[in-house]
């Protein structure tokens, strides 16, 4: 079966592994569309596939018993869904869904585990991503406790900006309120405030990043460390 060449793939993990590592996984890559809202991993349901994104944003969310959700972390073309299977788990308590539509490749978990046994480069690169993702969720915890809604929103917009092409991010206030686990008017007010500073332009269903450096300053150290860790350990992204 023909499969994409390493120079063709846009996923940063697949680009970062060595030639032998790519030879181990390449034949198992099945191209898939990733429409908005697609559930890739369901909480408590055994893993079947991981998804390497070329484009789009995936969101890992955790829910209360009465279905209130908060986002634990996001990833895009720098990562993959379902990495718990690399750590010996068969399922997880979080749900992973597509937040911004995209496309990528899926790989069955059996094929991924076989490929990881064949290639140290592949296994180590994927585990480094897990390490970076844990750093991201740690900063999310810190940010949730310490930051104002405006600061959390700034950090989150920067993380989305890293994972889209261009400066526009298509998101509704409703969606942002779920991701940040705040009431919708808090999102509306926070967007209004950040816009009044000139950092973004907010239109219905769309946010444009105008002054990224100012947003980074405003995020007050809560953005940037996991991203730097990724570049140090794995390679370019964003």
């Amino acid at each position: 079966m023909p499969h994409p060449t390493q120079s063709f793939v846009r996923n940063c993990l697949l680009s970062a592994i060595d030639t032998a590592g790519y030879a181990a996984i390449g034949p198992h890559l099945e191209p898939v569309d990733l429409p908005k809202g697609t559930v890739l991993i369901e909480a408590g349901v055994p893993f079947t596939h991981v998804h390497f994104f070329n484009r789009g944003i995936g969101s890992v969310v955790i829910s209360t018993a009465d279905s209130r959700r908060v986002e634990a972390g996001i990833f895009g073309r720098e990562g993959l869904s379902g990495f718990g299977c690399l750590l010996g788990a068969d399922q997880c308590p979080q749900t992973t869904l597509v937040q911004v539509e995209g496309e990528g490749y899926r790989v069955s978990i059996d094929a991924l585990r076989d490929a990881c046994q064949q290639s140290n480069s592949l296994r180590e690169t994927l585990l480094r991503f897990v390490h970076v993702f844990i750093s991201q969720t740690s900063f999310t915890a810190l940010s949730n406790v310490n930051q104002s809604v405006e600061g959390r929103l700034a950090r989150w917009l920067l993380m989305c900006h890293d994972r889209v092409t261009g400066d526009d991010i298509a998101l509704t206030h409703e969606f942002l309120s779920i991701m940040l686990a705040v009431q919708r008017p808090s999102v509306t007010t926070a967007l209004h405030m950040i816009e009044s500073y000139g950092f973004i332009k907010a239109r219905r269903g769309n946010i444009t990043i105008v002054d990224r450096d100012a947003l980074i300053d405003f995020a007050d150290g809560m953005y940037g460390t996991p991203e730097a860790e990724y570049r140090r350990l794995i390679g370019p992204f964003g």
Partner: protein, 83 residues
């Protein structure tokens, strides 16, 4: 279910609610406004951000203002006695 809009009244104008929220009736919309005001006030108190608004105007889809909910009404009654 009906769609209600929680527009925020501020000293410098209205911050519009672009999307609105689906709830059963005006009483449920008022409850949403109270919860939202509490969160805005809490964020302002915890992080030293000035609260932008002083009240929510609850409107229907036609833009008719049905009810104004001052942020003060979001405070539990015993808080009022602080001042």
């Amino acid at each position: 279910m009906s769609r209600f809009y929680l527009h925020q009244q501020t000293a410098s104008g209205i911050i519009e609610d672009p999307d609105g929220t689906e709830v059963s009736d005006l009483a449920a919309a008022r409850h949403e406004a109270i919860l939202a005001a509490r969160q805005l006030l809490a964020n302002a108190i915890l992080h030293g951000v000035a609260p932008l608004g002083a009240a929510f105007q609850i409107s229907d889809e036609a833009g008719q203002v049905l009810l104004t909910v001052p942020f003060r009404e979001a405070l539990p009654p015993h808080f009022i006695s602080i001042d």
